[in-house]
Symmetry: C2
Subunit: 155 residues, 2 copies
DNA sequence: GTAAACTCGACAACGTGGTTGACCAAAACG
DNA sequence: CGTTTTGGTCAACCACGTTGTCGAGTTTAC
């Protein structure tokens, strides 16, 4: 063991940092009219995007099965964040589209994330935050758009 | 939005960094005779510790309900990582104790985490890794350090 | 010393986010 | 054409979490 402490600290700190930000985000979202939004919803809504996507496409973008993506879309639909629409050009496809409410939660999330990052920059210095982001980009495989987030968030 | 990009990047990078390390850990563990080990097991085994603990204590240390902790202990028991033993001093309690196999996976995890951290230090510089850890410690609430680290290997 | 309060472990029901496998209808391809 | 691929859905299952309930055992208060 090195002088820097036990090895599990680094992954634990990374996870704790992530959870700290995500928990803050959802506390803010709850206070801004989105009490039922969950982390997985944000990932899915981003994968859907303003131009819409099919459930299968969402699954591929998130690195999960089309069935899992379909169930997530079901929940988003029940919460009013997306709607489904038949694709006139392909009778198999059902386009998933953001509702105004879905767009709202995405926009608010972006604003809140910016606020949190600004707080980190104020506490640590902009340079240190930028270095942290750059270092993480160096160490993370490029194709990390794959999320597979199950179980990593609290209730 | 600042010039640094969208706010989603920082939490996504933290999560990606965590996942990158944890995925590496479990690939190594699988190659070293622990193919069924999962991330949640590692957290639970740490919470149990070499001196053992009850399911309720594990739940408190991990910040989950005693029922959830009990179910995780069930799985660890089925995998041979822990055993349960009646507490002669308190007929309500059932002590959860690491088996030799449970201790083995903990020890191997510590070694692998050290290797991964050394790789990060080689790629980024020891100073930058230390700064990252220090910065994260600054930004993360102390509640995330509930895991009882002292006495990991009987120390 | 006994009654009340608390704690532990267990059971049940449920929610969320995943997985495979199977299947049909529609599209794409030979 | 017929064959293969693709999109959506249903069903069963798993991992991990939640509340609520409950009996048995231990503490605490009076």
């Amino acid at each position: 063991m090195g002088e820097d402490g036990y090895g599990f600290e680094l992954p634990l700190l990374l996870f704790a940092g992530f959870r700290t930000i995500v928990d803050r985000l959802h506390a803010e979202l709850a206070a801004q009219g989105h009490p039922d939004a969950r982390p997985a919803h944000g990932f899915a809504l981003q994968a859907i995007g303003v131009r819409g996507a099919t459930a299968s496409e969402v699954g591929r973008r998130l690195g999960v099965s089309k069935q899992a993506a379909g169930k997530t879309v079901d929940r988003l639909e029940a919460l009013g964040y997306v709607r489904r629409e038949d694709d006139p050009a392909d009778a198999r496809r059902k386009l998933v589209l953001l509702t105004p409410r879905g767009l709202d939660v995405l926009e608010r999330s972006a604003v809140i994330f910016e606020q949190i990052r600004a707080e980190w920059a104020e506490a640590l210095g902009v340079k240190r935050v930028r270095e942290m982001e750059a270092d993480l980009r160096t160490m993370v495989p490029a194709a990390f758009f794959r999320l597979d987030v199950a179980g990593w968030f609290g209730a």
